[in-house]
Amino acid sequence: MNFDFSHMFRFDYLNSFIALTIVLFSILVIVYSLGFMRGRRRLFEYYFWIILTSIASVGVVLANNLFLLLILWGFLGFTLYVLINIGGKDSDRAAKKTFIIVGGSDSLMLLGIVIIYYLTGTSQIDKIHLTLDGSQLAILAFLCLAVASFAKAGAMPFHSWIPDCAESAPLPVVAFLPASLDKLLGIYLLARICLDVFVLNQVMNMFLMLIGAFTIVAAVMMALVQHNLKRLLGYHAVSQVGYMVLGIGTGIPIGIAGGIFHMLNNAVYKCCLFLTGGNIEYKTKTSQLEQLGGLAKLMPITYMSCLIASFAISGVPPFNGFVSKWMIYQGLIGQLGDGNLQLTLVRSVTILCLVAAMIGSALTLASFMKLIHAVFLGQYPENAASSERKINEVRPAMWIPMIFLAGICILFGVFAYQIPLRLLILPSLTPNFSLPFSEFLGFWSPGLATGLILTGLIVGVIIFKLGKLRLSLREDSPFIGGESSVLKESRVSGVEFYNTIREINILNKIYRLAEEKWFDIYDLCQRIFFKVTDFLRYLHNGVLPTYMVWCLLGMIVMFFIMR
């Protein structure tokens, strides 16, 4: 057990910028918590674990020793468990599920790391370059580590803890861990093993791409039919991971850069979205979409931030989500154009992934339209409004982090190349790939496009204003034959419309199976394992002679073996 303690940490562009991002998010979430968690019990414990989590996370990304990485990584699972448990209703169940999936994948990671150590004889990450070709053990090790990163980031099929956790855990914890930090860590690990530790082959790249594409579409389909704001965001948190895995899976520089950039962007807007969700819940005490509506007037800052973040996650230009998605698409297209890849299978997989990614993007937009409509537009439900106190904007500690993140969404979108790509993303890839990056953004130049969009918007506003001036509208309450003028029927909650999707024949079946948790690896394994348990318990009938017979049978077998 002689580990070399002298090379415990390394600093390169990739992990330094992720470490910085982690610190930034920690600060934002702590600021937010000062507002959100005010007046709760066990606050010391809460901040203690939050700070410990961020320290351990920084340790993970900077670690240069596989075992150090493993220890800190496993410890993060534990802090996540403790933090979720601080939360409210049902948080114990979510915490259990989360930790079984995350902790279980950590055990696989242990196996993977031990295999790597055994194959290479070193635990120093920067000295390991394993090829996957022809070595079963190396493939196994890669898969083990990939599972750990998938479980942490929430790629399918290890995603199912995220929606549960999003629904039940305290909101700052969700915004901090599953939404931002765990994505950063999981994708960091994936990038690290795909770029440095292992040399991937074609098959493995295809595998990653397929997982990514599947995650995008399946998770967004689930998000579409959710009725709970936090759960909906949770499914999107899963769906976005698909893009990152897809990007890294392309295996060509622009795709990988896109994947990593998307990781950063996702952390920003997803954290922002969860914070807005937290504000809404904080004020209205509910996160059911049916019971919300018309909050845009009451909480304007929250509304604007949520709108920006929604556009960003849906990939609407000029926000940051668009740029990174565009880079991922380019990675896929670039792969199609590559002369070496004339295999039809490879081509069709790539096309499939491209289509999936685009569909996913469209559906994301659709589901965020639903969210925006249900929460901020429309009407606030009557019964709730009368009983609740007046809803107004949250206190500054809670909107400052949100505004900050929304600002980053715009900044990273408009000045995508000048700021994040040039300073953060591209340098982190240069040791592995050196390509002329000047041309890679294709025909998309965000500055010009933003200018055009802004001009368009301003022109639109002017025309609108002019039109309004000319028309001189008269507003009046509707007359319906003396009946009460409260029109409950006319309130569109924003949920019903999307029920149409459920009613499509095939989807209906799939959704039903999904609700019975047939696609949840946790429940699936539970069913299988409990079958085994039941069988074993059936054998243990508590009758002494039976047990004696086992002993004697055991002896007989042993005699036979030792003969």
Partner: protein, 499 residues
């Protein structure tokens, strides 16, 4: 100094039985003093030898002259020191815990008598160098434990004790038969001497026969599948401190220690025995954890986990590589710490709420923070979450599996670890987290002494990983590993050390 390990608990048991009935506090005071002094003795035995070499000290019982096979010997080597510390650490803490816990039972002094007898038996098993003495001490410890399992004298306890006694006696008879055959074959009862004689005479069918007898006999004491069926009844039925002793150390001393001592040092392990043990270890690991995950009885769940964790220890030891043995022994130590802590936690829950059914408790964290937090630490340890101690030993065992090119076993170990985590998540969720049940609003935290013990054990869990840092490892684990690695050279080491 060596015989003190047996003399102290035996004489204390005797004194308590004489005067315990008249002075209520006798048992509390004497038993605690005795176990504490044993702990100090065993720790001081560590510093008394030089690091690095295989150092063995031998004591002649009764000062008999001559060489084996004449006379009875007690042997203290690295492995014995390691086991003594593990045993006496747990027993000292358990004795402290019993002061408050055993209040609810009548005739507490009888409990201490049996406790001290069990301790004397286990200490004896560890330090004896004589086959027949091994059997005698083993029976002392076993019979005391049968009585202790039945201590509550409810129907459930009596049934469990009956099963345990029957199966335990069967295994003891097989062990005795094995010892008899070995004596007839080698004309000696001294372990070192037997080892030397066997080396001279070579392998024969009778040795194979004896091996199976010992495998079954000690395998049953260690609760290896398929000889495990007594354990899930016996361990939960005993009072919590005794459950902690049974799961924490008894199965290890009577089972694993005796098994490894006899097979590694006396008979010598062949390829077949090792593969057999490895298989049984892996089987126990998996079967135990599968049975545990379906349980709703807190203590029964823990008892099944003992089977599973014993599997890890056996798997590590039976790899017979330096790393594997290190991992196995380290896991043995860790398991005795966290499993006794878990049983003491369950005892605290029973003490406060009166139930062992996980479905009847909920949200105890609010009312019993010390119990809840210590049990969280212990759960993380057993599930192998870094940086708690169980993680390190599991890591070493899995590394050893890979190193020995046993990928399949490594995989089973990982699966077992995941399922262990899952079942302890269940315990934590149902017992300690969530909303508190209406009937449990009046629950109080347990008395100070019990809390103290749980906190001490949880601190050991938290910092237990330091044991593999070379400075500690050199003193504590390495000598024990070395003894097992030299195998049958043990005979020479002991015979050479006879004064």
């Amino acid at each position: 100094m060596l015989p003190l390990f047996v003399i102290i608990p035996l004489s204390v048991a005797f004194i308590i039985s004489l005067i315990g009935r008249f002075y209520k506090r006798t048992g509390d005071i004497l038993a605690n003093l005795a176990s504490l002094s044993l702990l100090i003795l065993s720790i001081s035995s560590l510093s008394a030898h030089h690091i690095g070499s295989v150092s063995v000290s031998v004591y002649k019982v009764g000062g008999w002259g001559g060489f084996p096979p004449l006379g009875i010997y007690m042997v203290l080597d690295g492995l014995a020191r390691f086991m003594l510390i593990t045993l006496n650490l747990v027993s000292a803490l358990v004795a402290l815990y019993s002061i408050n816990y055993m209040e609810k039972y009548t005739s507490k002094y009888k409990f201490y008598i049996l406790f001290m007898l069990m301790l004397a038996g286990m200490n004896g098993v560890i330090i004896t160098g004589d086959m027949f003495n091994l059997f005698v001490f083993l029976e002392i410890a076993s019979i005391a434990s049968y009585a202790l399992v039945a201590f509550g004298t409810e129907s459930e306890e009596l049934e469990a004790s009956f099963k345990y006694a029957i199966m335990g006696s069967v295994s003891s008879s097989f062990i005795l038969l094995g010892i008899g055959l070995l004596y007839s074959y080698t004309s000696s009862l001294n372990m070192a001497d037997i080892s030397a004689v066997l080396a001279e005479k070579g392998y024969s069918n009778i040795v194979a026969f004896i091996s199976v007898l010992f495998l079954m006999g000690f395998g049953l004491k260690a609760a290896l599948v398929p000889f495990h069926a007594w354990l899930p009844d016996a361990h939960p039925s005993a009072p919590a401190p005794i459950s902690a002793m049974l799961s924490g150390v008894l199965i290890k001393v009577l089972g694993i220690y005796a098994l490894t001592r006899i097979f590694f040092s006396v008979i010598g392990v062949g390829h077949i025995v090792l593969s057999l043990l490895m298989f049984l270890g892996a089987l126990s690991m998996i079967v135990g954890v599968f049975l545990a995950i379906g349980q709703w009885d807190f203590k029964r769940l823990l008892a099944y986990h003992s089977i599973s964790q014993i599997g890890y220890v056996i798997l590590g030891l039976s790899l017979a590589t330096p790393l594997g043995i290190l991992g196995g022994l380290f896991h043995l130590f860790n398991h005795s710490v966290f499993k006794s802590l878990l049983f003491l936690n369950s005892g605290a829950v029973v003490y406060s709420t009166g139930t062992r059914d996980l479905q009847k408790m909920s949200g105890l964290k609010e009312k019993m923070p010390v119990t809840a937090n210590t049990s969280l630490i212990a759960s993380m340890s057993i599930a192998g979450i870094p940086p708690f101690n169980g993680f390190w030993s599991k890591l070493i065992i899995i590394m050893a599996c890979i190193q020995a090119n046993r990928l399949g076993y490594a995989f089973w170990a990982v699966l077992g670890s995941i399922l262990t985590l899952a079942s302890f998540m269940k315990v934590q969720r149902y017992a300690f987290f969530g909303k508190i049940k209406a009937g449990l609003k009046e629950v109080k935290e347990v008395p100070a002494m019990m809390r103290l013990v749980m906190v001490i054990l949880s601190i050991i869990c938290l910092v237990g990983g330091v044991v593999i840092i070379p400075q500690f490892n050199q003193v504590f684990l390495k000598p024990a590993v070395d003894i097992l690695l030299i195998g049958k050279q043990y005979a020479n080491a002991v015979l050479g050390a006879i004064p």
